[in-house]
Symmetry: C3
Subunit: 337 residues, 3 copies
């Protein structure tokens, strides 16, 4: 299934090893059975581990040929006799951990390619990989075991934490990035925010004197743009996941563990609490406060502060239930008339 040209399988794991790393309980006596790969239920073979996360795929479980399968306790009875049931409170999470064990993140040689241009005043940590045609500016600090891939440009004084991976064709300036964070190809971080004062003869640029501060364990998607602050900093909280082609304006602050789906925009100076989820193509107007745990549906346009913990939809955004009611009412009425 998995194309071994692109992904290197790291070898065998016993059922017991898998249950330990995946936080699951083996329902078999034969815990030394050996597995070699992961696969979806419908394609798995006896040497594969699979999982059931969505009840929609119940029939696939009944028919599966997988050697073992992560399931919630309530579905044990559906597991065929030839498949070992591995009971997990979160089968998808267990699958993720198992897949990671079979297919660890790629490793990089610990070296600085000769074609990289690294300033004499930059500090490069131990065990780093610096790729071809990377340019690293004065006084930049790169943490231990960091990876900087080809053709990426790191500006003066930028700080990158330990174990970060900065992929290819990225541009970073005026920013500090926490450890274990990953920046995807083509990402732009730290450029000037969009700030100008009006003038009858045109616009006067306002110097953007803040930074971008990104926490640890974040993922920042391909071609996403995060502008630096105008005076305050732009801040992305630890553990946050930002998808591709997202725009984050100057002075924005997100809490920890936020999820921002592709093509969403957060306008200048808005602040998100923790565990906020913004669906794809959503827009958050400027200077708003979005409380922790807020969920904003795809394509919504948020124009007001949101207190947190609820789901919003529509443009202008409103509570989900109200949006669905309004949409249904409008459809009904306009058909009648």
């Amino acid at each position: 299934m998995v194309d071994q040209k692109f992904f290197k399988n790291s070898g065998k794991l016993t059922c017991e090893e898998i249950c330990n790393l995946a936080n699951a309980d083996c329902q078999s006596d034969v815990c030394d059975t050996v597995f070699t790969d992961v696969a979806p239920l419908s394609k798995a073979t006896p040497s594969d581990i699979s999982f059931l996360d969505n009840v929609k795929y119940k029939q696939d479980l009944i028919d599966t040929k997988a050697g073992a399968c992560f399931v919630k306790e309530e579905f044990i009875d559906l597991v065929p006799k030839t498949t070992i049931a591995l009971v997990s409170q979160s089968p998808y999470r267990s699958y993720a951990l198992t897949a990671r064990a079979f297919y660890p993140e790629p490793s990089f040689d610990r070296k600085v390619e000769k074609t990289a241009v690294v300033s004499d005043t930059a500090k490069i940590g131990k065990g780093c990989f610096i790729g071809h045609y990377v340019v690293i500016g004065d006084d930049a600090v790169i943490g231990d075991n960091a990876v900087i891939e080809s053709n990426t440009v790191i500006g003066d004084a930028v700080v990158i934490g330990d174990n970060c991976r900065i992929q290819s064709n990225v541009t970073l300036s005026h920013c500090e990035i926490g450890e274990n964070t990953r920046i995807y190809p083509g990402c732009r971080i730290g450029q000037d925010g969009f700030g100008f004062a009006m003038d009858p003869t045109g616009f006067v640029k306002v110097p953007q004197l803040g930074r971008v501060i990104i926490g640890k364990n974040c993922e920042i998607g391909a071609n996403t743009c995060i502008d630096r602050g105008a005076g305050p900093d732009t801040v992305i909280g630890s553990g946050s996941w930002i998808d591709n082609l997202v725009q984050v304006g100057h002075n924005v602050k997100t809490g920890s563990n936020c999820v921002v789906v592709s093509q969403t925009g957060i306008a200048g100076s808005s602040e998100l609490g923790d565990f906020v989820v913004l669906g794809g193509q959503a827009g958050i107007a400027g200077h708003l406060k979005i409380g922790s745990g807020t969920q904003v549906a795809a394509k919504s346009g948020v124009m007001n502060d949101l207190t947190g913990g609820e789901t919003y939809m529509g443009s202008p955004a409103m509570p989900r239930r109200q949006f669905l009611k309004q949409t249904a009412w409008l459809r009904k009425m306009s058909k009648k008339n």
Copy 2:
């Protein structure tokens, strides 16, 4: 008209040569008249070929000084006496073919620039151009006559078909690209999809073990992002045109000859049939099936499966007629009240 600094005119063509390549019928006895360029009706001179595609420009046809003009049969009588009518079933297509004959795609020297870093285990086809500061990884395969422009990064084991053109500052990984496909500047293909399992303490990344498979004769626009599959592949069907700044999530599959206009997003695992057209800034939610021939208007948000062959508008998307009716009704009612 055309700036010869940027575009090199390849020379003269007779009316007969043009009719042959453009699939048109010359309505004149003087088929050996020579033409040197293409131009819009209002700016054309006697040595130019023009076309009428949109009835809106009828008056321009009547007034034109073009030496010849592609028209549908029904408009022959509007063509001035000094202009040769070239009857075509598709004047715009005929124009395209003629313009291509006068201005062929730029040619590239068949060489690998010395500044390119090509892995010893990569295979480079015959007649390729590999530009400055290109980086090509281990076991990559580049087809014959392919062009890879400056500062592009091609990951390990990537496969690029014959006659592909990969423009500058592109990042490719974990993908296979069919012949004669063109990738525009800044495109990101093959990076990890946005996949994680929830956890009370944060998110667990789910390894993305699929690829991106792009067919032949495709165009993929500038700064567009196509994530690789999570397990299944992400697939773009042959002959599809994807515009700039589009997001294609993991496991998405498009049929052949789809058109995806700028800034549209297709969320994970959705599948498009053949000849589907998505207008600009449209959004397709995840796990949907969009039937062949579906047209989705700009800015629409599709939240349900669509059977195909119809046009949809609005967010949530509905049949075009219903959207227009609903919009008109709402405008009328809210004005009254």
Copy 3:
């Protein structure tokens, strides 16, 4: 406040010097007081200059410890005795000019890095900085004092005006850029527009034979894409500010001093007058005329010509007042029923 690692403070300025450059009137007899920095009201110290632009922050003014503060005449009485009032018609503009004096744009060495590949036939002006791994094509013309940062690719015959700054990882082709214009990282300018003729067997590409012409004093944001014209040129008027991730289709023309906020798309052949403002994630359909002074709210979808001077909202876009009325009416009615 300002991180001196990233921003170099250029030294001291007297109150008089500041008033001169910022077009403000000092309300104190001690015009030789010396200042060293700018800061927001709430964080300013006696050596800082601050400003009040938004009445919301009135209390901050009353409590400020700033040494001096730009205010409108009507707020003089709120300025504490320990703060010098600097009366300005536009305090934010005055602040911008002062901040620029303390923190001028970074300067670049006047040199061509040895790793840059510059065609023998390109003309590089006096005092330019050309960064590492820049590639400049045949017959390109780079104006005096221009800055081209690392890993940027400039195509054949491109013309860049004096004092332009083209940041890193940019791709330019088929374009001419006026003086003093700035192009942000990852910007793509001049690639083929999205033009094809339909055909039962697929699509025929229409050669894109126009250029992109950008005026002087423009800013073009990170990862923004501006396609070249199909025959006519794509034109961005002088003094226009375009934010990140914006799509500008082929043949679009904007007047002078337009503002286009992030993630907005302007479809092919639409024309904007002067001082048009498009909010974030707005969409302008193709072939429209948008009059001077038009303001389009974020997320709006414009499907018709707009005469100018008014504000529009919604998708389809309508006058702002109508949109707000319609939205309120719909909310009220759907709640009742």
